[in-house]
């Protein structure tokens, strides 16, 4: 299996050979930053297009198909448009916070994005509490949303932001706990180690019942955290026109729009990493020939394929279910998911203590 760290080490050594270490690091940082932004943008464009195509298919229609072959560059057109669109400055808003808020959202999702292990050795941030950092970073986004709602001086925005706050605080618990279940099983929080330790079997199989429950809970809570249907209360179109970003125009709105889709991918990527073995191919203990055959598929493909399936499932949720009401949303978390999660965590601890996992 190809290890991407070969490439990165080679670049690193090459740079260090021609300049002092500090210079090399500086150049690498810039390079990584640019690369990250580029990949982020590309992912956003692809995901938005994918969403529009997938939702069209669910709704017995075709979706974008006239811009470029099969509509493949539809979102590029959208990007060109939204970049050249006017950003309205609004009177009577807290303009500093109003302009800051979209950047907070983007930064949060960029930080989380940079933790994702795309392939073997292809990961930007990797340290001993990686998964904790990832969850923490991704929830900075809520600050952006709250600020947006508060600073817009719009009643709809404010209601949307408050809903978002309530929602985020609740579901953050479930996300943390369900990931904790797997951390108990694996004994590490470092993302690379999490993936490596699924070499023999993915965690969702290794931890059987409690892992499956944790997986489902994570998916639900993750969807809720990205503010996507059926949990899209903060921007509930039929209730709050556009929720917290009602007053945003041009690229500022574009940031929210993009962040929503990349966040969805991040949730799918975490689910993939933690439960479905990340970039690790499907290995079944005892079937060595099969395992070797699986290894021929590059790790990047494995990771993306799993993530795409997860993204599809999240989209499937959105395009099937009606929106929850705020009390249902809170009830679902506190009455069903949280108790379930706590019990599940204890079960997992017992299983690990007794060695009943695979």
């Amino acid at each position: 299996m190809f290890d991407f760290s070969v490439v990165t080490t080679w670049i690193d050594e090459g740079l260090r050979g021609i300049m002092p270490a500090s210079g090399a690091i500086a150049i690498e940082c810039v390079l990584i930053g640019v690369l990250l932004l580029a990949v982020y943008a590309v992912f956003a464009l692809v995901l938005i297009l994918a969403e529009r195509k997938v939702c069209a298919a669910f709704q017995c229609r075709l979706g974008p198909n006239r811009v470029g072959p099969w509509g493949s560059i539809q979102t590029v057109a959208d990007m060109v448009k939204i970049i050249t669109k006017e950003i309205i400055s609004i009177r009577h808003v807290d303009s500093f916070l109003h302009n800051l808020a979209p950047f907070l959202v983007i930064i949060a999702s960029l930080l989380a994005f940079s933790c994702i292990p795309f392939a073997k050795g292809l990961q930007i941030l990797d340290f001993n509490v990686g998964i904790l950092f990832m969850v923490a970073a991704s929830s900075i986004g809520i600050v952006g949303i709250l600020l947006a709602g508060w600073s817009s001086n719009n009643k709809f925005s404010l209601i949307g932001a408050m809903r978002s706050g309530a929602q985020m605080i609740s579901y953050e618990l479930s996300i943390g706990l369900s990931i904790m279940t797997i951390v108990v099983l694996s004994g590490t929080m470092q993302i690379s180690e999490l993936v490596e330790s699924q070499n023999d079997l993915w965690f969702i199989f290794k931890g059987h019942i409690p892992a499956c429950i944790a997986f489902v809970v994570y998916l639900i809570a993750g969807t809720a955290e990205t503010n996507r249907g059926p949990f899209d209360l903060p921007e509930a179109e039929s209730e709050l026109t556009a929720g917290y970003h009602t007053e945003y125009s041009g690229m500022h709105f574009g940031f929210y729009y993009v962040a929503e889709f990349v966040n969805m991918f991040i949730v799918a990527a975490i689910a993939t990493t933690v439960f479905l073995g990340g970039w690790m191919p499907l290995h079944i203990p005892g079937l060595d020939a099969f395992n070797q055959a699986m290894d021929y598929i590059p790790s990047l493909v494995w990771f993306l394929a799993k993530s795409v399936v997860m993204v599809f499932v999240i989209m499937w949720f959105k395009w099937t279910f009606p929106r929850l009401r705020i009390d249902q949303l809170i009830r679902l978390e506190w009455k069903y998911l949280l108790p379930l999660n706590l019990v599940n965590l204890i079960v997992m601890v017992l299983i690990v203590a007794l060695g009943w996992h695979f």
Binding site: A56, A57, F58, Q59, C60, R61, L62, W316, F317, W319, T320, F321, Y336
Partner: protein, 172 residues
Amino acid sequence: MNSLVKYFSDFFSALKSLLTGMKTTLKVFFRKKTTELYPEKRGSLYVAEQFRGRLEMVHTEDNHHHCVACGICQMNCPNGTIQVESQTVTNAEGKSEKVLVAYRYDLGKCLFCELCVRTCPHHAIRFTNRFENAVFTREKLALVLNRPGSSLQPKPAKPAPADTNTNPAKPE
């Protein structure tokens, strides 16, 4: 105990309903799509024969129309979409008669109620299927329906009165 049973039965029935929904949408996901490709497949587009796209004056091949400028359509029009401009001339037999000068029709105002066509005693006007009418300027919607140089069909060739209730419009 009962409440606990209810808690779980509620949970599972809820889960079942959600899964049924997901199954249904997934079925549709793989079904054939119903979209009609309008500009791409413009030729094979389904537009009903009776569809009222815009008003048109019937002209024969030698540029004759059937309008005698009686103004009944103008009288019947609920909102003044039609204006028949006519002048009185003396014809060959020495009788004075009305002659159509311009049949003005404001497409941007028409409500397609068909009262004009239904009441026209000479079947001089009809609705066609042509629906591609969008323009950039308001003035372009004010139409004159009689073609330049056209004149009234000479008497003998007056068409047999067709059924008032069938629309002679043909798809273009």
